[in-house]
Amino acid sequence: MEVLKTSGLKKYYGTGEKQVRALDGVDLCVNQGEFVAIVGTSGSGKSTLLHMLGGLDRPTEGKVYVDDKDIFTLNNEALTIFRRRKIGFVFQAFNLVPVLNVYENIVLPIELDGNAVDEAYVKNIIDTLGLADKTDSMPSQLSGGQQQRVAIARALATKPAILLADEPTGNLDSQTSQDVLGLLKVTGQQFNQTIVMITHNEEIAQMADRIIRIEDGRIVKGGDCHA
């Protein structure tokens, strides 16, 4: 079953001579429960693609469907709400709120939505990611790997349709990268979570179920989910 699909996705910056085609007609789809890695060199358009998939930026042309919903028909407010319910983000820079403790960071999207926290579910995630004894800590007290695990927990806590990860190991050393990614994969399987990850690290990409290769704003390999 497809949870994520794009059609003719284009993003151009500037006009005329100086026009940059960050995305130039991207068609891809991702199935439920799949772990997909998008790889490409710096400037290939992979980050732009991820931002489009998460509704952080609007495309010049084309559509993105999440759970069969054309997300760019929503206004900004509705799109933000859709995002916090359906999409989990993990960023390279961890991006935790410094004034909230670990637990509060994890449940932030749920509470922003005004929903009651599914305590058992969140506890399960926290245990899986090995953060049980850190819930009252402030982000500044954690190591990079720990911070990224909190970010992963936060992304999973809302039971999103898709988890988008933007170079999740970019700021970590190789051993920690392996650990974090292993955890990401395990939790993905355990909670039957669809994961789309971008990376320029081939070794990391090998851990995914499928690799999509992107060059100069176009998919050169692996975009079709029925293949």
Partner: protein
């Protein structure tokens, strides 16, 4: 030290950074401009007031020269004129006094004066010239008016001149005149040198060896280069030139002495300076600091490419000085205009004559304002300079505002926009302090101003100025310049007229001068004052006379029961019925205490004592002292005697023994509906009477309102500027706080925080600032308000301290609305850029 020619490049970097962030820098410019404006206004008003006081005093004294030698000889003038330290020496020759009957109320001196001396005395003819022909005369219009001569050149002026002990009649031709100054103690007439030399030739012996020490002697006036310690300079001058130090009469113009700048005004000036310095510091420091932190990446970058800390410091300093160069001149201009508007209002309440107003444009104002503004900017920018200088190139890249060390662990709470706002505030407590302080300043000022105005008691003010609705008296009573005062000016006929008016009740106060014995206690006290050296030199003679004679002056007031309602009782009780029997007197006899150091009271007479008064016709009457009480000031003579007593007895006792049946005061109380009619009638009657004047309750009420309006205006202007600074600071704190967290906000949006939730959070932050400010302002007001306000206004006699925080509370809604609206608007501008763009900023 090695000198490197790098100033140019440093300036270039400073300048480039300014051009880059125009919007941000407008705030700094505005802050410096406001600071300069406030300093200029303060200095300008202070200097103008000082100059006006000086001018007003000089006009009373009748001269602008710093010092003078009285009754000297021509050779004295030669010595003075040739002294290198003396400037503007001039002289006049005393001829005599005009003694015409029409001039009996106007002291009129007749002198020969050089042009410079006439100008120095503010008596240079504005129409016509100084005397040229022998029988020419120039004089003030007040003398002309008194003589009934029209203001036309060529008129014949007939004067009876008293020259020495002899009087003679002369006819002069009017050659010039000027507007007479009613403030001046004496009016001037100038005759020709030829005439002066003929009728009042200069004697050859010094004045102190001559019987007539005035006629023909030279009054020599002169200035020094600086008005500092004129007395010392004068003494040095006399010694240098071999004057007889003991016998030479010297006068120092007291308009120049420091008495014009008393400790209260120094305190006010100092307080004003501090307040502005603080307000200026708070905003300029805050903005500079925030700017440096915002630009810290580029400073780090500059350091990696080899800029030294010293150079970075200079970049920030250069920027500060650049803003000074633009902001200060503008501030000087605006400040001057503001002062020009405020000065007449302030001066007007200080009972100065409008003709004395001098709006000072002394260069010292501008030097002071520039200096103080630069100092403020310098102090404010030194911490930011240090921050910029100390930046480490590696840290700078990941530098975020120095967050205060928070807790490492915290129990989880339910997340709300308020909770997040609260947590966000905790990150930079120093910033909160700066913003809260600067917002509080204007609030405290508003509250302080309102407390002062609230403490002004109209009844107290009026009670000290007038009793009843109208008071009619001889015009000389309120004219302190008049030589002879008529204390019996309101005649029986006058009183009958006022009594005949509809709706009027009349009460009169009669006056009689007499003596009372000094008791043994008082004699001892005087002796003690003398031993302690507390008696000023000019009173020594008088005091020793009183001690010898064992009696003191006594003013007898004949009053009816009405006056008993307006007395301050110190001892005993007032009983109108008993008083009316004529057996009792009310005594007040402690004026002399004012000369002692302790402000306590000591009375010569006490309740139950028996006193014997000698009335005008010589009859004596004995009274028992009913009470020690002071008559209301508006019913007194408006004059103090050095040592004396006031005694109130029933009106008839004074009236029956008096040769002149005129009253000192006629006090009218009027039915409210007849007020306008009575005012009209009194005004007309007084104008026609020729000798009477009247004051009304309404005039004093108006005076009171003017006074209060000045407070509102001056306080309001200052509060407005401070409020503007506070608000600017607040906007700055909110906006920079947002810019610093831009990326964090973007990330929160990425995980699902909506614009509205973000706006809510920011509004909560603003509201927290408002609440902190209010709490701080109320606390500061309660702790220090009394101390500061009583220090400022406690000396004002119609002020009573009544604490209030109502004005503060009234500001609360405005503050909260501002605190909510500004972050809301700011958060909207945040969303002009997409989440992705904002997230990327830090990468």
């Amino acid at each position: 030290m090695r000198r490197v020619k790098n100033r140019a490049v440093i300036r270039k970097i400073a300048w480039a950074s300014i051009r880059e962030n125009k919007k941000k820098h407008t705030v700094i410019l505005l802050a410096i401009l406001l600071t300069a404006t406030m300093f200029t206004t303060l200095f300008s008003v202070a200097m103008s007031l000082n100059a006006s006081f000086q001018n007003s005093t000089m006009r009373q004294v009748g001269g602008s020269s710093m010092a003078g030698i009285k009754c000297g000889l021509p050779e004295d003038y030669e010595k003075i004129q040739n002294d290198p330290k003396v400037v503007d020496a001039s002289y006049r020759i005393t001829v005599g006094m005009a003694q015409n009957e029409e001039l009996k109320d106007l002291q009129t001196e007749v002198n020969y004066a050089t042009d410079e001396n006439a100008a120095e005395m503010f008596c240079f003819p504005t129409t016509g010239t100084m005397p040229k022909e022998k029988m020419d005369i120039a004089m003030s219009t007040m003398v002309l008016d008194a003589l009934g001569i029209s203001h036309e050149l060529g008129q014949t002026v007939r004067l009876i001149l008293q020259i020495g002990t002899e009087s003679a009649y002369y006819e002069f031709t009017l050659c010039g005149f000027w507007e007479g100054d009613p403030v001046s103690m004496a009016q001037e007439c100038f005759v020709s040198r030829e005439f002066a030399d003929e009728v009042a030739p200069t004697p050859s012996v010094p004045s102190y060896e001559n019987e007539d020490m005035y006629t023909g002697y030279w009054q020599i006036d002169f200035n020094f280069r600086s008005s500092f310690d004129i007395e010392g300079q004068t003494n040095a001058l006399l010694e240098r030139n071999g004057f007889d130090m003991k016998n030479t009469m010297v006068g120092v113009n007291w308009a120049y002495t420091t008495s014009t700048v008393d400790s209260t005004s120094m305190l006010l000036l100092g307080g004003g300076l501090l307040l502005i310095l603080l307000a200026g510091y708070l905003i300029i420091y805050n903005i500079f600091y925030i700017n440096v932190v915002a630009d810290i990446h580029s400073y780090g970058l500059l350091k990696t490419v080899g800029t030294t800390g010293k150079q970075l410091k200079r970049i920030v300093r250069n920027q500060a000085m650049f803003f000074c160069a633009i902001g200060i001149p503008l501030g000087l201009l605006i400040g001057t205009l503001l002062a020009k508007g405020l000065f007449p209002v302030i001066a007007g309440t200080l009972t100065m004559q409008e003709s004395s107003y001098i709006f000072s444009v002394s260069p010292w104002i501008y030097v002071g304002a520039i200096l103080f503004t630069v100092i403020t900017v310098w102090i404010s920018s030194s911490k930011p300079c240090r921050v910029a200088a100390k930046v480490s190139p590696v840290e700078a890249v990941s530098y975020t505002e120095h967050a205060d060390k928070g807790k490492s662990h915290r129990k989880s709470r339910r997340i709300t926009t308020f909770g997040m706002a609260w947590a966000g505030l905790g990150r930079n407590r120093k910033k909160i302090v700066v913003v809260v302080l600067s917002l509080s300043l204007s609030l405290l000022l508003v509250n302080g101003g309102c407390t002062i105005v609230r403490g002004f008691d109209a009844d107290k003010y009026i009670a000290n100025s007038i009793v009843g609705d109208f008071s009619i008296q001889d015009s000389s009573v309120y004219n302190h310049a008049s030589m002879s005062v008529n204390y019996n000016g309101v005649s029986e006929k006058d009183r009958a007229f006022f009594d005949s008016l509809d709706g009027v009740t009349q009460h009169n106060v009669y006056w009689c001068a007499s003596y009372l014995p000094i008791t043994e206690d008082v004699r001892k006290m005087l002796q003690q004052f003398e031993d302690n050296g507390q008696i000023p030199a000019y009173l020594e003679e008088e005091v020793s006379y009183y001690k010898e004679a064992r009696r003191m002056n006594c003013t007898i007031y004949g009053v009816d029961e009405f006056a008993l309602d307006f007395m301050t009782v110190y001892e005993g009780t007032l009983d109108p019925k008993e008083f009316a029997t004529g057996k009792y007197a009310i005594v007040y006899s402690s004026q002399l205490i004012a000369y002692g150091e302790d402000e306590g009271r000591m009375d010569c007479y006490h309740v139950g004592d028996s006193i014997t008064l000698q009335m005008e016709d010589g009859t004596e009457k004995t009274y028992e002292v009913m009470a020690v009480a002071e008559l209301a000031y508006p019913l007194q003579t408006q004059r103090y005697s050095t040592i004396g007593a006031d005694v109130c007895v029933p009106a008839a006792d004074v009236l029956d023994t008096a040769s002149d049946k005129g009253a000192l005061y006629s006090v009218l109380t009027v039915e409210p509906d007849q007020m306008a009619n009575v005012e009209q009638a009194v005004k007309q009657y007084v104008e026609q009477s020729g000798n009477l004047s009247y004051v009304s309750r309404e005039t004093y009420l108006q005076e009171f309102r003017d006074y209060i309006n000045m407070f509102y205006l001056v306080g309001g202007a200052l509060a407005a500027v401070l409020a503007l600074i506070g608000i600017l600071n607040f906007i700055n704190a909110i906006v920079t706080g947002m810019l610093a967290r831009q990326q964090e906000f973007a990330m929160m949006e990425a995980v699902g925080m909506t614009e509205r939730q973000l706006a809510h959070m920011l509004v909560w932050e603003g509201v927290c600032y408002a609440i902190f400010t209010m709490v701080f302002a109320i606390a500061a007001n309660c702790l220090m308000g009394r101390f500061l306000i009583e220090g400022l206004a406690g000396d004002i006699w119609f002020f009573t301290y009544q604490p209030t925080i109502v004005p503060l509370l009234a500001c609360l809604p405005v503050l909260i609305i501002l605190a909510a609206v500004i972050p809301y608007l700011a958060s909207r501008s945040l969303h002009k850029r997409s989440v992705v763009e904002r997230m990327r900023i830090a990468e």
